[in-house]
Symmetry: C2
Subunit: 696 residues, 2 copies
């Protein structure tokens, strides 16, 4: 039972398994798109499931349990005091310990596993843990209430590992090299040697400074200066005998002197390009003089504790305040910046330029700007073209004066990350008609060329990033990223990231797995298992049967990695939404696949994407494979370009304004296309001539 | 004994009586103008006096007296704890009780009188108190060290009274009416009714706001916006159904949205024009819609506790930090603003525009900007053209968002107050060659017309504002402002401000008095008394004889108001410096008095200035009286104009740049002219044909 997302006064047992929000019966029946969220069109009644569990939400709270208990989290021995009755997930959030909670504590994803080491908790029974796990002391953090002092361990397999970014450090440098011609940061440092004053040249220090700046080519008529700098000025110019370095920030309409310091020796200037994904965050630390990427780090967005997708995050911000979500994402970014700095032997104060690339919700949450109207019709963001801000006023780990450029985005559901990606892909400057597909938690499509650009969003969900899939994970160490299945034994052969013992399956691995299962007859076109239950590769856990992708004896946690029909269903919903998205968008402008000259794919699949297999499952269209290109993390690459170039930043603003957004939320054609795409590869096999699915 | 102002390691007994700073023998002998201050030319060795007192500075401090005692100040019963050994002046400053200390605690001005009511203090004997005063328990605050708990009273005659501003409230309104055509504040509030968003018009809130602003004629391409406003935006636009009021600040190069609030009803917008004088501060509270002056208040600049002139203030800022001086002047301003608000039944948050007009040192100290290079050759201010700031970042009692314009000034010793005054006088737009004389603590001169403008400063000292004159005071209640002397009895007839019992003499009264004494043969051209010591109007106090301007039985404090040769000397130094100033400036451009078509006089004399008498003492040139005009407080009037008009603010910047500053600090002609002017009316009587001084 839970509260209806639209009518909080109503208790309901209808849970949307996709968005993890409750809906009352009126909302389910109502066809008015205003009632439900942005995603209504891709979230029809049929995948609501009546939840049978009698778990009764977060209502049992501290008020009735006045005592407090201590929870210690291993391996770091982080201790926190919580009120009795709080969940272990609450405790983890309070202690700043990362626990994945895809479903935002609703008990439906089974990801927030902890192992009780001493003491005990009041745990609600769940089918999401195997008997083996329960025996070993596993509990779900969100389903376990604290009743006494307790020590729990974050299981080894859940400890955050390095993400497999498409190219790290040297590799990133190589990939991005030459993308930007002239380096032109937002915050520049201008060394000056001023003429000392005399009785005959007795202009004020500020006038003298402006004169020096003018001589060095700076447009002083557009230059503002604040009281802080005026208070530093007299000492700063005199301390090193009229040699000074002036920090100037470039803004849309007027520049500003941010800082002045004595001396004009060289000092290193660094920048960070930050890709703020709903699921993952990537940071590039860049030398602003050369454009070299000194370090690249990545990690899970801590907001994951508030749910997988942007809707859940907004709901959480409405409930707990946007500051909480802002703190979470800042904690992630700042940790990653810290790691990058350590790797490059650099200090935060050297970071003087920052570019943030993220979807519209991520940008709002990061900046602490109200996001609630993004999820309500007519889906209005507060800001789409952000002013240049200072790191200190946002809370990013950098020089407090550092200039922060937030990538503009054309709409509530097509944000700066897409603008960033298009900038990197570059087809907005070229002739060929191009289809650009970002398979992320949301799922965005851009279609066009230098003359026109259309864009749309479809709620793909986080399945390809591991969300809503029992053993789904991101492309970290131990993720199964490539799979083939032997035709006769039906046994899988796989490769994992870093060749570590398998811990789960990432996006590219799931595409391979479903494609292989389909081609080898393990599943049918409806995503149902065609094998007998007693087949050696099949196993049942709770009430679900699944294909054993990796056996217990070879996995890191000693549990089978099982791929169930529910998992397949989640992926089919995702790929169906995306396929429907681009076909409907093409339809809107009267194009068919023969007119698409290039298809760019980007997203959180991991480093390798098998185009053939993605076509087989119906994620990508069945066209000449040479027209496809997989771009890796294009949002981070675009952020890197904007970090270095003012032309690119200007281009970003123009690009965002040029894109025509098509809203699918009340588009019946999208609904039809989506329904037709919920087969493998598709209801209409004529669209996939090269895919031969064996008859069961 | 004290520390040399240039060589703090040296103890010296040479005190400049004018600037109240100690100088060592090397400094006295040295002719290098770098050694001493700006005022060296007008501060030659001959008016240094060897101080014979063995008072040994502030060295006896708390370190050797670990106890603390309580000092209670009557009449307000303000209590403060100080370390034993602190002076009562220290205690008063700590308690924020206003005590006039012209000489900055050096024991030479005799102004910081307090009356001990209970307990006792360790008071150094002083000739500056009469026997009658000592009997009544009077002490000098700076010469009295706290050794036990003590209660002291601020004497009734020293309690701050309302200044006689040249025209208050209604009168100010009448004077200023019509000076400004179109009212155009820096911070404007724009009421908007926005079109609510729809699916077909789904631009972001910020874009919608910009669209509304553009439609109302605002240049949105030059508009910045900060994170604070972005965080308010979504709620503000929706709360009153898309009716909002936007506050925009006009800046030199780019405007900024400062605030957005729901609803677009009318709200009152007020402004304050603040004249920050070294001695006095005047505040006009103005209705920004009509230009009406709702209230005018004035008071003593609390920095007076750190000495009378700008040099002493800078020395104090170097010693105790500029923050202390900033706090003092802000306390004065904010009290005056509070009084004005109370008088107009208004609130601080309604004040959205502020103009500050003050000399360069006052502007630096108010803003907390380093002033120390103003007093060191080559006399460089940190800032001369100030950016528009916000009241909140300065600490002025107003809406924290209020825009603050600080009048620009052309040089370290010709500041925004002069630019302000010229703007009000208006001769910089006209044909006639005009001489503009500001007789303030400094003493500034402007000469020119619409084609050219020259300016200079001469250290006039605060004598005409009451500084360095035993019974000198500003034009407050009880100040003698007009004097005539009966030719036969030599008894004075006087008029006081508000016809109150006399408490002292203000500038216009002193001019009258000296002029009358000169014409009636009481003093000679050298400023020495010509009367026998036993004349009924003569009296001796300590070792000084003086003319009884008001007898004890008629004065408020029951003491004679005596005018001594030292007092006359102070005034002669002041008038000599000013006369030398404008004659040398005219000389520089090859003009004589016949070419001067108008003479404007401004300054802190009080409401009435008798031009004839000012000519008699040699302060003003002996030319056709119809060419003179007394402007009252022109600095406040110019500030008022700038408050209302953007054209005036722009004109102020242009004017400041147009003025050519002539430095007198190393000008030998100035020195000669000054020496010649140290007689009444002048050494060269041919320059004063209309003045007939009786032969002794």
């Amino acid at each position: 039972m839970g509260k209806c997302v639209n009518h909080p006064e109503r208790e309901t047992s209808y849970l949307c398994m996709k968005h993890q929000v409750y809906l009352c019966e009126d909302c389910l029946k109502c066809r008015d798109p205003k009632i439900y969220c942005k995603f209504r069109s891709s979230c029809p009644i049929w995948f609501m499931e009546k939840r049978q569990k009698n778990w009764d939400s977060e209502d049992k709270t501290a008020a009735v349990h006045p005592q407090r208990h201590t929870v210690v989290f291993l391996p770091d021995e982080t201790a926190v005091d919580v009120a009795a009755g709080a969940t272990l997930l609450d405790a983890a959030q309070a202690a700043d310990v990362f626990v994945n909670a895809s479903c935002n504590g609703k008990g439906s994803c089974g990801k927030c596993k902890l192992v009780v080491k001493s003491g005990s908790v009041d745990a609600t029974p769940t089918a999401l843990l195997t008997d083996g796990e329960t025996e070993k002391g596993y509990v779900l953090a969100c389903q376990s209430r604290v009743t006494e002092d307790v020590t729990v361990a974050v299981p080894r397999e859940a400890v955050e590992r390095k993400l497999q970014v498409a190219g790290m450090g040297e590799a990133v440098s190589a990939k991005l090299e030459g993308l930007v011609g002239r380096i032109d940061p937002m915050l520049t440092e201008i060394p000056l040697t001023l003429t000392p004053p005399t009785l005959d040249d007795s202009v004020s220090d500020l006038d003298r400074l402006n004169r020096g700046l003018k001589q060095s080519g700076c447009d002083v008529d557009r230059l503002n200066v604040g009281i802080r700098v005026l208070r530093q000025l007299a000492d700063a110019v005199r301390k090193e005998d009229w040699n000074v370095t002036v920090s100037i920030i470039q803004r849309k309409c007027a520049n500003e002197i941010l800082d002045i310091r004595p001396g004009n020796g060289e000092s290193r200037s660094l920048g960070i390009a930050v890709d703020v994904g709903t699921t993952s965050i990537v940071v590039y630390l860049v030398d602003m003089a050369t454009g070299k990427v000194l370090a690249a780090t990545s990690g899970h967005n801590r907001q994951a504790a508030c749910g997988d997708d942007v809707i859940n995050r907004i709901v959480c911000a409405e409930k707990d305040g946007v500051k909480k979500l802002s703190r979470m994402v800042l904690a992630t970014i700042n940790n990653l910046v810290g790691e990058a700095l350590a790797g490059a032997d650099a200090e935060a104060r050297e970071i003087k330029n920052v570019v943030i690339s993220g979807n519209t919700t991520m940008a709002h949450l990061l900046l602490g700007i109200e996001p609630r109207y993004i999820r309500r019709e007519p889906y209005i963001p507060t800001v789409s073209d952000f002013p240049v801000l200072k790191a200190g006023e946002i809370g990013i780990r950098a020089n407090p004066m550092a200039a922060v450029f937030v990538m503009p985005g054309p709409a509530s559901y097509v944000g700066g990350d897409i603008v960033s990606g298009v900038l990197y892909a570059g087809f907005h400057r070229e002739e060929p008609v191009t289809l650009y597909i970002d398979v992320g938690t949301n799922g965005e499509i851009v279609l066009g060329n230098r003359d026109w650009l259309m864009t749309a969003a479809c709620s793909a969900g986080p399945a390809f990033e591991g969300g809503g899939v029992r053993w789904g994970m991101r492309a970290e160490d131990g993720a199964i990223e490539e799979v083939s299945i032997d035709s006769s034994s039906l046994a899988p052969t796989f490769r994992t990231v870093s060749n570590a013992a398998p811990r789960g399956i990432c996006g590219s691995g799931m595409i391979d797995l479903i494609s292989e299962m389909l081609l080898k007859g393990i599943i049918d076109a409806g995503g149902k298992f065609a094998l007998p239950e007693d087949h050696p590769r099949m196993k049942t856990v709770g009430d679900e049967k699944g294909y054993v992708a990796a056996a217990a004896e070879e996995t890191e946690m000693g549990e089978d990695i099982l791929f169930t029909e529910t998992d397949i269903h989640s992926l089919v919903l995702s790929k169906g939404a995306i396929y429907a998205g681009f076909t409907v968008l093409m339809d809107e402008v009267g194009l068919d696949f023969s007119m698409i000259e290039r298809v760019y794919i980007t997203g959180g699949f991991g480093q390798h994407l098998d185009i053939d297999k993605a076509v087989t499952i119906g994620l990508l269209p069945d066209i000449d494979r040479s027209r496809f290109a997989y771009l890796g993390n294009s949002s981070a690459a675009g952020a890197y370009m904007a970090l270095l170039s003012d032309d690119i930043r200007r281009e970003a603003r123009e690009l965002s304004n040029r894109m025509t957004y098509i809203d699918f939320s009340s588009n019946s054609r999208f609904m039809d296309a989506f329904t037709s795409a919920l087969f493998l590869p598709h209801t209409d096999l004529g669209q996939f001539p090269s895919v031969t699915v064996p008859r069961a």
